[in-house]
Each structure stands twice: as structure tokens, then as C-alpha cells.
Symmetry: C2
Subunit: 154 residues, 2 copies
DNA sequence: TATTGTTATACTCTATAACTATA
DNA sequence: TATAGTTATAGAGTATAACAATA
């Protein structure tokens, strides 16, 4: 939930060097966008992270948890509770992989596909709101600029 | 710490609709920049959030915890442990406010000012790395675009 | 030896709700 | 009644380290 602005004259506060920092704006904007996602898309108990996982499984049926972790740049162990959650909601299944008994193949269930389609619509609506103040060119430019930063620090 | 890329052929993964989403790029970039901050500036056990608080106290000596919370758009209760931490490290003090015994005036200590100066230098170096692939115009444009998004979703 | 998934564990961040002491 | 700060609590997210099964 968004915390209250308890009206402590925020306009009179001097933000010092923060407004010069990309990191500050990234943080503030990301946090606000995350909240908006949860308020709009998140009804279904789905976080942006969960949605990302659903997208990757949908686009790469059968991929393993390790692949998923590598793609999202998180630790293998962080994937486990997320898949547990999605499997518990019957959106994803861990299927035995025929050639290698260490690994699973992840797939969407029928229900997962159905919910994923709904979520995708909701996410696009959310995205539309997020980009409401941007022209299509500005939107593309923003994505381009963000993509330029990542490889430098990742 | 950055998780290992355990080399699971990330290049061959289909990212589906994720690369079209501002939210996705914000998340990935913010996360990478956060990590880079912690690896470079964070030696002193200072998070981006802590640094933001130090900036605001430095620029607004005597401000209250509630003002701080409102400025950073977080709940009052979330400020408490952060100030505890900074006070415990002797960077910040809670001073009694003369006219109102409910509230504190936050100030940097001498040590706080010293560390803050060091941190500021480190943050600017970090920022330089973050913006390494951007021209000054692109950097300004990125900040401008991020600032356009926030009011829509906040 | 290396890899996959898992568990146990811990830490950070942040929220809600209830409390206290003031105002 | 309202406000400032606090506490207790809880949940999400993610990391490290160690382990079992398998390769």
C-alpha cells in the first residue's frame, strides 16, 4: 500500500543532490510503478516478479529453474519459493525431464495459460498508465536508455 | 552480491513481451544499479536509502522523522530503524525539539558530516559509472523521463 | 568434480495496527 | 481529537552455505 503523505509540507523540503542522481530517480520511479502494478494487476496475488516468470515459462516451455534464474539474474535458490507459489496456485508445473533426473521442465498449466492471458491484458493497461505522460518516442527512448545502463553495472 | 550467471545459455532465452515493458526495464536496471551502489559505496554499511536520508538531513537540518517519511514516500514506521541505524553509527542525532516534546530534530553529527562528504564523492563516482554509456544529454533526458512517470502512478 | 534443485537460515525493506506521550 | 514517534508483527524478496541426488 502507498503510505500516506501526512502533509508535512514536502514541497518545502530541499532534496539536495538527490534530483541529480539517476539512481535516486530509478529507485523512486521503480517503487511507484511497482506499487501501481500491485494495485492494478496484483489482485491475483501476482507480483511483477511472478509475472516475469510466467512470461519466460510461456515463451520457453520446458526451461529449467537454473535457466530461469540465470535469465532473471537472481540466485537459483530464489526461484524455488516463487515456483512453489505458482505451482501451489496451479499455474505452473514441474515436469520430470526424460534425459536428466536432476532437473525439471517448467510449463504453464491450462489454468496458467488462462490466467496468464488475463494478466497480460492487465499488465498492458498498467503499462499504458505508466506511460501516460510519454509520447511513443519518449517511451522507446526511455527503454533504450535503461538498456544502455544495465550492461555497465551488471 | 551479484548472483552467478551459471552460464545457462541466457542468450538463447526468449524474453517474450518483457522487453516491451517499461516496468521490466526499470526493475532490472534499478536492481543492477542498487547492487553496484552496494559494491562501491556500500563499504560503509550504507544503503541507497540511508544515503538519501543523510542527504535530506544535511540539506534540511532539524527536520522531523515524519517530514522525512513524507519526503521519501514511505511510512513513518519505516524511518525508525533507519534512523536507529544511523544514530547507532553516530552519524545522526535525534535532538529534543524545544517547542514540541513529541518530535525530534534530526541533525548530522560531526562524524556524520565527515562520512557524508566521503560518501558523496563515492556516490558521484558510482553515478559516473552508471552513466558511462550515456551522453550528458541522454542522462538529462533519462531523468526527465523518469520524473514524468512518477506523478502518474504515485 | 560439477550441476540441479532444495533446505535452513538470515537480513533488508517496508507495511499495518496498536500503543505512548504529547498537543 | 490529532500528531510524533515507537513497538510488535508480518510478509516479500533475495542471498549464502550446505546437502542429496544425479551427471
Amino acid at each position: 500500500m502507498a503510505p500516506k503523505n501526512n502533509n508535512a509540507a514536502v514541497g518545502e523540503i530541499n532534496f539536495g543532490l538527490l534530483p541529480n542522481l539517476i539512481g535516486y530517480h530509478l529507485r523512486r520511479t521503480q517503487s511507484a510503478v511497482f506499487r501501481h502494478f500491485m494495485q492494478t494487476v496484483g489482485d491475483h496475488d501476482i507480483t511483477p516478479g511472478h509475472f516475469g516468470i510466467l512470461v519466460l515459462i510461456d515463451a520457453n516451455p520446458g526451461l529449467s529453474q537454473s535457466m530461469l534464474a540465470a535469465a532473471l539474474n537472481v540466485d537459483r535458490s530464489s526461484i524455488v519459493p516463487a515456483i512453489d507459489h505458482l505451482e501451489g496456485r496451479n499455474l505452473v508445473v514441474r515436469e520430470k525431464k526424460p534425459g536428466d533426473r536432476r532437473t525439471y521442465e517448467l510449463r504453464l498449466t491450462k489454468e496458467g495459460e488462462r490466467i496468464f492471458a488475463m494478466l497480460t491484458k492487465a499488465v498492458y493497461e498498467h503499462e499504458e498508465t505508466v506511460a501516460k505522460n510519454l509520447t511513443p518516442e519518449e517511451r522507446n527512448q526511455l527503454i533504450t536508455l535503461l538498456k544502455k545502463i544495465r550492461p555497465v553495472v551488471e
